[in-house]
């Protein structure tokens, strides 16, 4: 029986290779990664849309280097191990010349070493954890980083909201939420405030009452919640139930229409730091909002904008480099000096762009622009 089984396996393997051989790229292949399924699925969908919008625009104008752009999008499911597989597939199987993605820092952290080793440039769309670009000189990002974001949040809490005591809650299994909460804590303490509770919760749970009870009993003025929108909605609801009446503040993980859908009145009057606001009057922003709305029938969120910007940055670098060689693109990326929707893109020594943050308030169930904070 065994020789037969072997034969079958080999036959299948050979057959499989023919199936996969159809990947002949007549254009410039750009890989794109995002979490279309999983804990933050709206992020992935927005990312994919933003990527697509940029690619379609370039293709309508003749593509890049005289060829059409072929975008291969892969779902990382918000999981680092899956991300590692997906990045490898894009590089090895689809022969991408550059990769735009991804959203979650923990997945980008898994993909970056792979890109760096393969000398394929990577532009993360929304990964804000500072360790991502520290992986190597081929890794860039289109967004600001968490120590800036945490500081902005802390400053806002202390100065604008006049909070003296704050509490923080975050997901222990996610370096982004953990890092952001830690940066908030550091800055808030430096400003003279007191962090009265610093609670972690396990990934995937729905009952936060134990931690929230401890937080509420410490009587903070604000709660800083660095989680993704799905957890934030629940945390907010349960916090209100336990008697917390103050505002909650968070990071860019809040940016999703589902936040209000699930959180409802619990998130009313709360704030979060973000990369852009649709209310921004700059023409480039309004232009983008109109284009996105026309194509996808929805108001773009920060994830969509960042993906759009990241894709533009990448394609622009390829155009400047004049060829699809990894090293050339990398150098062109480092020299980027571009006006994008989320601001002017110029990379610092760590390949992070120097950008401003906006503060958004949830008012009447809508995201309303509150203020801009410059670095």
């Amino acid at each position: 029986m065994k020789p037969f089984a072997l034969f079958v396996v080999l036959a299948l393997v050979l057959a499989g290779t023919f199936v996969s051989c159809g990947g002949g790229s007549k254009g410039v292949v750009i890989g794109a990664v995002g979490p279309v399924t999983g804990a933050a699925a709206t992020f992935g969908i927005s990312t994919k849309n933003g990527d697509q919008l940029a690619v379609d625009e370039w293709n309508a104008n003749g593509g890049v280097l005289g060829k059409q752009i072929k975008m291969v999008f892969a779902d990382d499911k918000g999981d680092p191990a899956e991300g590692a597989t997906v990045y490898t597939k894009l590089i090895q199987q689809d022969k991408a010349v550059a990769i735009v993605g991804t959203v979650m820092s923990k997945v980008s952290l898994a993909g970056a070493p792979i890109c760096q080793a393969a000398k394929i440039p990577m532009v993360a769309t929304a990964s804000t954890n500072e360790k991502v670009t520290q992986v190597g000189d081929y890794i860039f990002r289109a967004c600001f980083i968490d120590n800036f974001q945490g500081i902005v949040g802390a400053n806002f809490a202390f100065t604008n909201l006049k909070a003296k005591k704050a509490a923080a809650i975050f997901d222990v299994g996610n370096d982004y939420t953990k890092g952001l909460a830690e940066f908030f804590q550091k800055q808030f303490t430096t400003l003279g405030g007191k962090v009265v509770a610093f609670e972690a919760h396990d990934t995937g749970i729905t009952d936060f009452k134990a931690q929230l009870t401890r937080i509420v009993q410490a009587k903070p003025d604000v709660i800083y919640c660095s989680d993704y929108y799905n957890d934030v909605a629940l945390i907010a609801k349960q916090a209100r139930e336990l008697g917390f009446k103050g505002p909650m503040i968070g990071g860019d993980g809040w940016d999703s229409p589902d936040l209000v859908k699930i959180g409802g009145a619990a998130v009313e009057g709360c704030y979060f730091t973000n990369h852009y606001s649709k209310d921004d009057t700059r023409p480039v922003v309004q232009d983008f909002v109109k284009k996105y709305q026309a194509k996808f029938n929805a108001v773009p969120d920060a994830l969509a904008v960042l993906a759009y910007d990241a894709m533009n940055i990448t394609l622009n670098a390829i155009k400047t480099a004049g060829k699809t060689d990894g090293a050339a693109i990398k150098d062109a990326l480092a020299a980027t000096d571009l006006d994008a929707v989320t601001g002017h893109i110029k990379f610092d020594a760590d390949r992070n762009p120097i950008k401003s943050a906006v503060i958004i308030k949830i008012s009447n169930g809508q995201q309303v622009y509150e203020t801009t904070v410059n670095p």
Binding site: H201, D202, G204, D207, A210, T213, A233, Q238
Partner: protein, 302 residues
């Protein structure tokens, strides 16, 4: 440390425990009867939650909110849980009843995977979490330092009623007697004229109904549902059932409340290691009492 064991945390723990109890009962009943760890049980809970969600939106249009809708939704959630459990039994578990136990276990894993991924893949349902609607207006009572919502009362009350009903069923009714007989000795039961397969079907049905009820309660209390919501609670309820002595109905209830309270206190004490502490407690208990707290020592038949 004294601040951990305050009233609010006790309330939290009891609320959590009530939901675990309903799930754990299903696990323990099925195990008692067919010695199977039904890994898919957590997913029956998930199905119940989704059924409740769907039912609410369906009936809200007609009946319009409040207690009547909530009651209908509860019935439907239980029906859905019971239905899916019975179906799983008929299709996947029954054919393997007298085959090696391990194959049933793998099949249970298969059923579990199927339910989770099917609900994720099916376009109308999808993998994205959904907010669960407020079935009843939420009222919060201040009892001393603790804020107790009417949902807490509902959770504990529903769980208590169901558990009470089950106990009466098992102790007083013919069906209950038959169930006890079958879990003790299948062959002897057959000789006494009991239709064993029938009893097994009833067990799955009841267990599934309880899981469905738990799904509704969880949806209401922690208002978010997604296709994978059954994995963690299922695991914890399973541990609770073992803690109390698997196969033992009162044991499952006891184990579940212990788990709920332990998890809450552990998280309150040190949220970083909280989840691990629950497992450590489990291991310690098993080391001291290998068959669980209320479990019976089964004599080794030579």
């Amino acid at each position: 440390m004294g601040s951990i064991f305050n009233l609010q945390q006790i309330v939290n723990g009891l609320q959590l425990g009530s939901i675990y109890a309903l799930i754990a009962l299903g696990y323990t009943m099925v195990y008692g009867i067919v010695r199977l760890i039904n890994f898919a049980h957590g997913d029956f809970y998930m199905v119940g939650a989704y059924a409740a969600y769907g039912a609410f939106y369906l009936f809200n249009a007609f009946v319009g909110g409040g207690a009547p809708t909530a009651f209908i939704v509860l019935i439907l959630a239980m029906a859905a849980g019971g239905a899916i459990a019975t179906l799983a039994n008929q299709i996947a578990y029954k054919p393997l009843r007298y085959k090696p136990k391990m194959s049933s276990l793998v099949t249970a894993l298969g059923v579990s995977m199927f339910l989770e991924y099917f609900f994720s893949a099916f376009p109308l349902i999808g993998a994205n979490p959904r907010g669960f609607p407020d079935l009843l207006p939420k009222v919060i009572y201040q009892v001393g330092p603790a804020a107790i919502s009417n949902y807490f009362i509902i959770d504990v009350a529903v769980a208590a009623v169901l558990m009470g009903g089950l106990t009466i069923l098992i102790q007083r009714s013919r069906l209950g007697r038959a169930m006890r007989a079958v879990s003790q000795d299948k062959d002897a039961s057959k000789l006494m004229g009991i239709n064993v397969e029938n009893i097994i079907t009833w067990t799955f049905l009841i267990g599934g109904m309880f899981a469905g009820a738990a799904g509704l309660l969880a949806g209401m209390t922690y208002p978010r549902i997604d296709p994978y919501m059954g994995i963690l609670p299922g695991l914890k309820a399973f541990i609770a059932a073992v803690l109390g002595g698997i196969g033992n109905v009162p044991g499952a209830m006891l184990g579940a409340y212990i788990m709920g309270l332990a998890e809450t206190f552990a998280n309150a004490w040190n949220s970083l290691l909280g989840a691990g502490i629950a497992f450590i407690i489990l291991i310690i208990v098993l080391l001291v009492r290998p068959t669980g707290i209320l479990g019976e020592k089964l004599a080794d038949k030579i």
